[in-house]
Symmetry: C2
Subunit: 349 residues, 2 copies
């Protein structure tokens, strides 16, 4: 059962701190607000190896006297989105958007009533969705994301994001961002790190809300994208969205995408699935201090438990497999336990 | 013959200013340092429509009381490189790099002695180069830019940039940047514009020196790029450069590239050739104040005269055609005359 401490100190962190302490009452206060973790820094993070790893990394890379000091223009931090910055269950958010769009567009496509995968979507059968192939998803994504002007898509996506609610939490998806990660983004930016989203999801979809929700402008959102065509229509230039994948920003694509869009190796990278493995490998292969962290979903009560921690089916955007766990251990990546390392998951808790 | 005034006031600008003046000696001083163009701002620009256009645009977009005020996070300015920020004659700089690399690699390729286009390159026959097809150039670019690790290419390009000199000016290519454009980049950044390079040339090549020369970090350099492959070699991840075009950032590709990398329409765009036409169109199609400028090479004495202004052959990266001139006029784009609008072209003059 997950611990839900109401203060910024976790049971695990407090106990391990106490074990190392001589029994002098005065020292207890000093330890819970020690120099490495000043009060008010990353308040939703419990004391422990994950929080300490972040604090140590930032000190090592930003203290001018450190041998691992990094010039401000090279301070790049990259974040996966789905499952790392916000909830990706029961299916990732953009897939929910696509399914809603299939329903909205169905009146114009009577043929969908008998044509898979649309028939299954329209029948609202969740068990059918679980068996969709990559090709099924591609068909759903193309029909809902292309064949229109860029501006039209952004308008449709923006309206959906402003109104659609999560089936379990009954809140806007943009309220389902992880408060500890928002604090981490702010903390890194306060230390002159540039924070980028590197998502396997659609770049344009995330750009609709990235500034407002994460403080990350469109030009720092790297993601998967479809091909576009430049056309002059009635004397006005337009970008038309084509039903064709241009860049798949997942797995090895994340390392390639970082090189393509940023041109620098990150010093810190955060993910939660096999789709993030190459991003963390690429980050870790650089010299000096590099922070590599995986968010592990082991809190069925407050959020979800999946991967080795739980019995939920894998999401379509990648999974936290046993092999990824082993890789993390062998490469000394830090695994963030949502249950133990975060005393708060959502801002509204 | 070009005018070369030694002060910040051009003959043309001074004369037109005098014509409108009553004969009061006191006013002359006030006019040459009027409120729109305070002393010290854009000093290498002569007073005239181009400089005034820049000053008016910046005021309109950054003055909070202006109806065309633009929030700082949306202040995007995009610059072509070759012929807009630095010299692109007799051929563009990266092509010179590629030709030098053919010479350097020739000992490992005895077959090049009889195989075109390499035979022509090795014979140092400039007239042959003028007849190279796009396919010839592609072959030269692939053989000199791919088949190696990313890090190896950056090292080779960096060494070339640090030592190779321009055939006419006998200076490093990085000294052949246009001082008025450097001042313009600084001026826009001082007003919270983000400045991006959007080049038809190779993204990775430009990124080697963009921070040092233009103050533009790699993550704000958008250009043409080759495909890359992520590989684990001896346990270490590497990005390998493949002999295959991934993205052609020229013509319509510039509008598409801006959308892909930035996700916002620029408020200001600067180019010099047909390859920049769609970038300026895309910029100009936005609402509010949008600055669209073309650098026109009409100064054979201090730099080069080409396009309608001169008899030099077209460069491979695009040309300033008569049609582009007409387009500029019909869309009210500002044409910057290097001869008349710039009192200094290079910092070392």
């Amino acid at each position: 059962m997950p611990t839900r401490p109401s203060s910024g100190v976790s049971r695990r962190g407090l106990l391990s701190g106490l074990a190392a302490l001589p029994s002098l009452p005065g020292l207890l206060v000093a330890t819970t607000t020690n120099a490495q973790a000043p009060a008010g820094v990353l308040p939703s993070w419990n004391d422990g190896p994950a929080k300490q790893g972040i604090l140590d990394f930032v000190r090592a890379t930003t203290d001018q006297s450190s041998k691992n000091f990094v010039a401000p223009e090279d301070r790049i931090a990259t974040f996966d989105q789905d499952g790392t910055l916000w909830v990706e269950h029961p299916i990732y958010t953009q897939a929910m958007f696509a399914l809603d769009r299939v329903h909205a567009l169905a009146p114009q496509h009577p043929e969908w009533k008998t044509h898979e995968p649309f028939k299954a979507v329209l029948s609202n059968d969740p068990s059918a969705l679980a068996h969709f192939t990559e090709r099924d998803w591609a068909e759903i994504l193309f029909v809902t994301h292309s064949g229109m002007k860029e501006a039209a898509f952004l308008e449709i996506a923006g309206q959906w994001v402003a109104t659609a609610k999560h089936p379990r939490f009954k809140r806007l998806h943009t309220e389902l961002v992880y408060q500890p990660m928002i604090e981490l983004l702010d903390y890194l930016r306060a230390h002159q790190f540039e924070t980028f989203i590197v998502t396997g999801g659609g770049q344009d979809f995330v750009r609709v809300y990235s500034q407002r929700v994460y403080g990350i402008p469109t030009q720092k959102v790297i993601g998967s994208s479809g091909a576009k065509k430049y056309e002059i229509k009635d004397g006005k230039p337009e970008l038309m969205r084509l039903p064709k994948l241009f860049f798949n920003d997942n797995f090895d694509g994340k390392a390639i995408g970082i090189d393509l869009f940023i041109g620098k190796r990150p010093y810190a990278a955060f993910g939660n699935s096999t789709g993030d493995q190459e991003m963390l490998e690429w980050t870790g292969a650089g010299e000096g201090a590099r922070l590599k962290m995986l968010v592990y979903h082991d809190d069925a009560q407050r959020e979800y438990a999946y991967g080795p921690a739980g019995g939920l089916p894998d999401t379509k955007v990648g999974t936290f497999t046993r092999a990824l766990f082993d890789e993390a251990k062998s490469r000394s990546w830090t695994v963030i336990s949502m249950r133990s390392d975060w005393n708060r998951i959502f801002a509204w808790e």
